[in-house]
Amino acid sequence: MKAKSSQYSLWSYVLAHRGQVVQGTLLVAASVAITVSAPFITRFAIDALVDGSATWPKIIGYAVLYLGAVALSAIMALGMRKILLSLGHQVEYEVRRDLFARLALLDYYFYSRERTGDLMTKMTSDLNAVREFVGQGILQGARTTIGFLLAFGVMFAINTQLALVMLFLLPATSVLFFLLLSIIRRRYEETQAQFSRISNFCQESFAGIRTVRGYGIEDRYNSLFAGLNEHYIALKMALSRVERPLWPVMGMFFSFGVVLILWVGGRQVIAGQLTVGEFVQFSQYLFILQWPMLALGWTVNLLQRGLGSWDRIRAILDAEPQIKDAPTDGSSTKALSLTTPLTSQEPDAVSFKHVTLCLGGVEVLKGIDLQVPKGQTLGITGPTGSGKTLLAMLIARLLDPTSGQVLVKGCDVREMRLGELRALIGMAPQEAFLFSDTLANNIAFGLEDTNPDIVFAAAELAELHTDVKAFPDQFETLLGERGVTLSGGQRQRAAISRALARDPEILILDDVFSAIDTQTEAAIQARFQSFLTSRTTLIISHRISSLRHANRIIVLQDGRITQAGTHRELIQMPGYYRELDEIQRLQAELEHTP
């Protein structure tokens, strides 16, 4: 393990349940002890039979005793499994809980770096490996160690020579098994690599089907696919050559053990140094130790994997968000006190002071200065990739500026508590993310409770309420894969409703009309009239119709504000905005002239 110190360690999770660990281990010891003692009973029974001292009540007595011993050991074994395996699941639960809590804290920077698929892998298969490490690791580790010590203690006490044979035989089995396992693992990884090559090939040829078909080269792809598969089969057969004989080889090895005991032990029996009962007892130990010895290789593998996985999980647990509440100096009220400034004039709802933003070493916003007075609407437009959405993200503090300041109600957003800042803002992002939940819960997502009146009012404002009537369960309709799939326009209107439902002071609409037809948009705009007067609004759009009513419009190009003014002013000036206006008018004309 890395020396890097971390506030999270796997041991602290395990040791929190030390009572269970102790209990489980004691049960393991007890169960193993009984299992090791049971062959004594068969030995006494057989010896009694051989020397003729046996009577039938005595024999039945041995049989019952044997059964009783095994039953007792089984009860212990039941307890040990339950306690130790449950411990694994409890730790899994706790680590997963803490992981999720950490994920909820992590920010845009983290999520733009990590892929969802990788995070999922860490939260599933790595977590599984850690669980196995804790549960099976302790269980099998304790069982193998205790079983080995007890069984050999007994064997050496009975017969040194036979015990030595076993001592040579069993570890050799473990080593052989472990070696085979590692070869198998290596070959397995090779087949997996080839398998993902096949997957990628399929993925490409299905995704690029138009190209493949357009060139009429299906037969070529069929034979390429066959080639990949032939190689895959070759690799799999190479795997089979070591994997298939794994158990037969182990079986062979045990047969060898049986024969060794037969030769060495048999010689002693004939010489009268060993009884037949003792001989049978030894061969029983061979079978008792068989599984723990094999499990040794498996357990070592488990521990290796578990540690590797834990390192990956800890990397998430230790990740620090860049965007977080400023260290509290006891005043979350600081922000609020700043909103009542010395001057009688109310501060701008949103303002940017010389804001520059770099992402991945590229300047994406350059020297932005901007004021949006309370109650006003600002329109933002510009070509794709000019930084419009980033501007919106800075206000909600999903990103921090590289230099300069973003102020909301006169206060630097970095000095406000995240919760308080975001409570002021209702934002409908470009790609609305809807949860697979009811429509009502999606609209009321930003509220503590789903209030049906608020939901309906918000949906009505966004012109969604008429569509809802056609849904199977109206507002209670499930969205997503197992429910209704919304059209692009409906998604956008749901996102608008969600932003409105919070009754925000600052409303940010990021290109949310693009999939909504112009008539519906006009209807929404009309409903907005009274709603927006009391709020500050930012509308990002490519559409003149969405922008024209704004108090002020800015044009962003390549991270800079290149034009600013009202609709009237901007269409007078040559530039991006006028060009956009002309194109859109022509388009409308082409679409509508008969």
Partner: protein
């Protein structure tokens, strides 16, 4: 196929089984051999405890024989050798058998996988558009794997287990009918208890899987929507919900652990019960001086009990393998039964080379019923002519291209190339003579050269370079770190939009097509220099070939022989640029719009 519901497969389905067996048919011989080997193996394996019995009764127990120590010792050595030899034979046979079966399974699955893949390549585009690539991949990957498991392990394992059980029972009866019958009497009870625990373990496991996938789905959704969650300050609420699912999963694990904890101990107890029975019944018999039951027989029975339980333990695993294989088979054959729509003619008209005469005659076409995308379109393009199709979005331009290379079939009317309906040609041969250039071409992972020759080994490097040079792509390719061998896509270099377009041109040209279809959609992000290179290349490749363009670049439109104006699925005007621009019409408005479009 639309909504895929995971369901437990049936254990046995007549039609499916017949179709699976059809794939197994070419491999009847190896499968027969495997079965024979299994039979022999089962016999050898169950004979081995008899050797132990002999050793104990004949050579170990002093009272049982009058032989002297030396004879007993050499007898013991002999038994040991026989045991080893038999173990070695059993090992080799087992190895041979499982290897044979693994090979057979791989071959069967190979055939199946190839068929599925080829089938998917033939499926109609509308099917491909409706089904996400991920789902189709599942057919070729995990569904096929489930089948493979069944063939290689499940099926043969079942036969092997059955043989082993029969052989063991036979030997037990042979050694001691009394002991055997006593044990057989309790076996059904033991088997019943085991099955009960097994069923519950599996149910608990299913529950765990269901909870796990619900948690995974939730997790995936939350990770994807985390910024939205933060924006609305719902972190606490979402964490609570997650905790709910998380503890649900933990609790169902606890339940599963409970049953798993029962499983092994009860196996041990049941095993011990049989041992105790052997001890009691056998022991009493020995005490009473039985002829058939000896100490050796008892020890052999102990070995048989172990062997008897092993196959029973994994019987229920096998039924899981069968179930999931059947569910996969259902999905696989469901896909195989999909209608291909665009069919090969029985006697295709051979194609040497096209002169390049393309005709549309009263073509009506819709992607879905009655929603006409093309209405009564008729035109005639002469060999060598270059034609641009213009119109607003959704006017039906792309559909015209898709009909010429027969991605779809028309509903009414006919599309003809060189006087024959396209349905009379082999679709593959047809498409090989027609080059399609797309603005955002699909780049496959591999080298630049492979991407140009589209993996056609018959095309030489010289030809690749020649066409790259011709379409002005040679210069940027040469500048790449590995030139034509530079890897693109996965872990390779990223090409700019302009470079991809030049690549697409080279790719089309190297096939030396007779007819060129060019989809010149409006694209942003192409710098002026690449733009000029593309323009120049387009002009060169169109020279002397019938070329049909869907054009957005004014310079290309102006350069063609004829312009066809589409509007809402109808062909409304055609003529040269000069003719069309000359009068106040739709084309003129369209032209103005194009002139404004920022590049």
């Amino acid at each position: 196929m639309q909504a895929e519901i995971e369901h437990e497969g049936k254990l046995f389905d007549h039609t499916l089984t017949r179709r699976i067996l059809a794939y197994a048919k070419p491999y009847l011989w190896p499968m027969g051999w495997a079965a024979t080997i299994i039979l022999v193996m089962a016999l050898i394996h169950s004979y081995m405890p008899i050797l132990i019995k002999t050793a104990i009764d004949e050579y170990l127990i002093p009272t049982s024989s009058s032989k002297d120590a030396d004879a007993r010792l050499s007898g013991l050595t002999g038994v040991g050798f026989t045991y080893l030899v038999l173990a070695a034979i059993a090992f080799s046979l087992r190895y041979l058998q499982s290897y044979l079966m693994a090979w057979t399974a791989e071959r069967i699955i190979f055939d199946m996988r190839s068929d599925i893949y080829a089938k998917i390549l033939r499926l109609p585009l509308r099917f491909m558009d409706r089904n996400p690539v991920g789902r189709l991949m599942t057919r070729v990957t995990s569904d096929v794997d489930a089948m493979q498991k069944m063939v290689s392990d499940g099926l043969v394992g079942l036969v092997a287990d059955l043989f082993a059980l029969i052989a063991i029972m036979g030997f037990m009866l042979y050694l001691s009918p009394t002991l055997a019958v006593t044990l057989f009497a309790v076996f059904p009870v033991l088997f019943g208890i085991m099955t009960w625990i097994n069923i519950n373990t599996r149910r608990a496991h299913r529950q765990v899987r269901a909870k796990q996938s619900s948690l995974n789905a939730y997790l995936q959704e939350m990770i994807t929507g985390m910024l939205t969650i933060q924006l609305f300050s719902r972190e606490r609420d979402v964490s609570d919900r997650f905790d709910h699912r998380n503890s649900d999963l933990r609790n169902s694990w606890f339940e599963s652990v409970r049953w798993v904890s029962y499983f092994f101990p009860s196996m041990e107890v049941l095993n011990a019960l049989s041992v105790a029975l052997v001890l009691a019944v056998g022991g009493v018999a020995v005490v009473q001086g039985s002829d058939t039951i000896t100490i050796g027989v008892m020890v052999a029975f102990l070995a048989y009990i172990r062997d008897f339980f092993r196959p029973l333990e994994d019987l229920s695993d096998k039924s899981t393998v069968f179930q999931s294989a059947m569910a996969s088979a259902e999905r696989i054959f469901g896909l195989m039964d999909q209608d291909e729509e665009v069919r090969e003619p029985e006697h295709p008209v051979p194609i040497e080379q096209f002169r390049g005469h393309v005709e549309f005659q009263s073509v009506w076409f819709a992607y879905s019923k009655e929603e006409w995308v093309l209405r009564d379109v008729t035109f005639d393009i002469h060999p060598g002519e270059s034609v641009a199709i213009v119109g607003a979005t959704g006017a039906g331009k792309t559909s015209i291209i898709s009909l010429i290379n027969r991605f779809y079939d028309v509903q009414r009317g006919a599309v003809r190339v060189d006087g024959h309906d396209v349905r009379e040609y082999s679709q593959y041969a047809l498409r090989r003579r027609i080059g399609v250039v797309i603005q955002d071409p699909f780049i496959f992972s591999g080298s630049i050269a492979d991407n140009i020759r589209m993996n056609n080994p018959a095309i030489t490097r010289a030809q690749v370079e020649e066409s790259a040079r011709y379409v002005n792509a040679h210069r940027f390719i040469e500048a790449l770190p590995d030139g034509y061998d530079a890897l693109v896509q996965e872990r390779g270099i990223t090409l700019s939009t302009g470079q991809k377009q030049l690549l697409a041109l080279a790719r089309a040209l190297v096939q030396d097509p007779d007819i060129l279809l060019i989809l010149d959609e409006a694209t942003a992000n192409v710098d002026t220099e690449s733009e000029q290179l593309i323009q120049d290349a387009l002009k060169k490749v169109m020279r002397g070939r019938t070329s049909i363009l869907i054009a957005h670049r004014l310079s290309t439109i102006r350069g063609v022989d004829r312009i066809m104006v589409m509007r809402q699925g109808e062909l409304i005007e055609q003529g040269t640029h000069r003719q069309l621009i000359g009068h106040e019409g739709y084309y003129r408005r369209l032209y103005e719009l194009l002139a404004h479009r920022p590049v």
